[in-house]
């Protein structure tokens, strides 16, 4: 088989990527937005945009990076409330699924409050680092910042969390 045919055959399908990435985007949206109740709407909107741009994005080396950037931007955006409302409006006539993402455990509430108070970029870097164990270069690529800037954001986020959370509050 010619190499170009091989490349075409190996392109991911939207459905395959959806199944793998959707739960990850829900978690990322929850961590970055600070809202578990909106996380699924944000992830759905990111997937909708991926679907809309699929013919373009599927050819990228890392379609997942594009998806993460969109998810982070949506989660950081003040428009997320509007997105949520727009999606609700589009579902007229359809039964709205209740959010399925469980509320944060009580023992984590203080931590998530501290995370939500971090500056936007720090929150994004921290979330990508701890949720997905991505190298800083990849995080920088997703957020369109330099690796050194990503390193600074991660360092400052950790420093802030250390200052705000006593060991007994997070080490349980």
């Amino acid at each position: 088989m010619a190499p170009e045919h091989q490349a075409v055959r190996d392109l991911p399908t939207f459905e395959a990527l959806f199944v793998v990435e959707y739960p990850k985007m829900v978690a990322l949206a929850a961590a970055v937005s600070g809202s578990r109740s909106h996380a699924e709407d944000i992830a759905q909107e990111a997937m909708t945009r991926l679907n809309r741009h699929w013919s373009l994005v599927q050819g990228y080396d890392k379609p997942g990076a594009w998806l993460r950037r969109v998810t982070v931007n949506l989660a950081l955006s003040q428009k997320r409330r509007l997105v949520s409302e727009a999606r609700a409006a589009l579902r007229l006539g359809a039964r709205r699924r209740e959010p399925q993402l469980a509320p944060a455990p009580v023992e984590d509430e203080l931590l998530w409050t501290a995370v939500a108070a971090l500056p936007r970029q720090q929150r994004a870097v921290l979330s990508l680092h701890f949720l997905e164990d991505l190298p800083l270069e990849e995080i920088a690529d997703i957020l369109d910042i330099s690796p050194s800037t990503a390193r600074v954001h991660l360092h400052r986020a950790r420093q802030t969390l250390r200052e705000q959370l006593s060991p007994t509050e997070v080490d349980r």
């Binding site: 959806f18 739960p23 997937m47 679907n51 699929w54 369109d144 080490d171």
Partner: protein, 350 residues
């Protein structure tokens, strides 16, 4: 375990619990809410007619995206498929608009006003029966017929670069959708206005910026580039002038230097850089940055009146053409303190 380790473990465990919770979400139900068809505006499409088929073939070969919707296909089908007489010789409007770069100054489409962005201009050019330009992010081109104020644009194709924030891509899509739907063109007071059903695009003619010559121009350094961070320049005017004898002179803001250069396909090879003078402590880093960039191979990019030199590691120097009475190109706050700025997707940071 130190307090730091303990905190780190606690954070890691909390994120891990979130990850587990998210995996409990019903992914297949969420997938079921999606229309599996890629949405309007980005579908590969089947174009009608021989001219359209040629466009698709070219697009496949050069790796660009061809897109549109049924309306676009109708425009192509309703236009002139022969491809021989796109544009009309002797048409006054066509002659007026050809050869200029038109920049979108306002516009609206079926979904409302286009949110223009200074950082991502939208441009339009007419040349030999083709339109081309920059659609906020990507370059685009297509066929155009323009006869007696009636305009048809079809076969639009664009490159595949992705831009952030997402609003840039949305502007691009809205603009190209609008451009594909225009039906009338008129020049009003030097402004080009294209209209169609629920579409109005208003362009101004952009003055062409002369491209400065690398050699023989007095360049004034105004920005240091360190990775993603741009830093303003302090100290004395830091000039650079390349002579036609393959030598150059200049300054770092505190020291003056001389050197030799050879031209290479992508830039310059700099040798024999010698700097003399002394720098105060606050200018030492700038001095070191300038000297380190001007050492060995540098890429050269001239965009109008701006010269950017980039070293192998990515650090760079950005110059503007000096008007002969150069002032130090610093950015100062009210209290006179010089500051640096950087730009990322969160905006301009001081």
């Amino acid at each position: 375990m130190t307090a730091e380790d303990s905190c780190e473990d606690g954070v890691r465990r909390a994120f891990g619990r979130l990850r587990s919770d998210a995996h409990e979400v019903d992914t297949m139900a969420a997938l079921g809410e999606h229309d599996p068809r890629p949405a309007r505006g980005w579908n590969p499409r089947v174009l009608v007619g021989a001219a359209a088929a040629i466009i698709v073939a070219v697009a496949v070969v050069v790796g660009i995206a061809v897109w549109g919707d049924d309306d676009d296909a109708d425009v192509v089908a309703g236009g002139d498929d022969s491809g021989d007489d796109v544009g009309v010789a002797g048409d006054g409007l066509l002659a007026e608009v050809t050869g200029l770069t038109w920049e979108l100054e306002s516009g609206s489409g079926p979904d409302g006003p286009l949110e223009l962005r200074d950082t991502h201009p939208v441009t339009l050019m007419f040349e030999s029966g083709q339109v081309s330009g920059t659609a906020a992010c990507n370059s685009y081109f297509g066929d155009v017929t323009l006869t007696d104020g009636s305009i048809t644009v079809g076969g639009l194709a664009r490159t595949e670069m992705a831009c952030m924030p997402l609003e840039v891509m949305e502007l691009e899509q809205a603009y190209l959708d609008a451009l594909a739907a225009v039906e009338r063109a008129v020049l009003v007071g030097g402004r080009l206005v294209l209209t169609g059903p629920l579409v109005e695009l208003e362009f101004g003619a952009r003055e062409p910026v002369p491209v400065a010559e690398l050699v023989g121009t007095n360049w004034l350094l105004d920005t240091l580039i360190e990775g993603e961070v741009a830093t303003s320049v302090m100290g004395e005017p830091a000039m650079l002038r390349l002579g036609d004898d393959r030598t150059f002179t200049g300054g770092t803001g505190c020291r003056s230097f001389t050197g030799r250069y050879e031209t290479e396909p992508a830039g310059l090879q700099i040798t024999a850089l010698e700097a003399e003078g002394e720098c105060s402590a606050d200018l030492a880093a700038q001095d070191a940055h300038v000297v380190s960039v001007l050492d060995g191979a540098v890429d050269v990019e001239i965009d109008g009146q701006r010269l950017t030199l980039t070293a192998v590691g990515g650090d760079g120097l950005s110059y503007t053409v000096s008007d002969g009475d150069p002032a130090p190109a610093t950015y100062s706050l009210d209290d006179g303190a010089v500051t640096t700025f950087s730009y990322d997707d969160a905006g301009l940071s001081l």
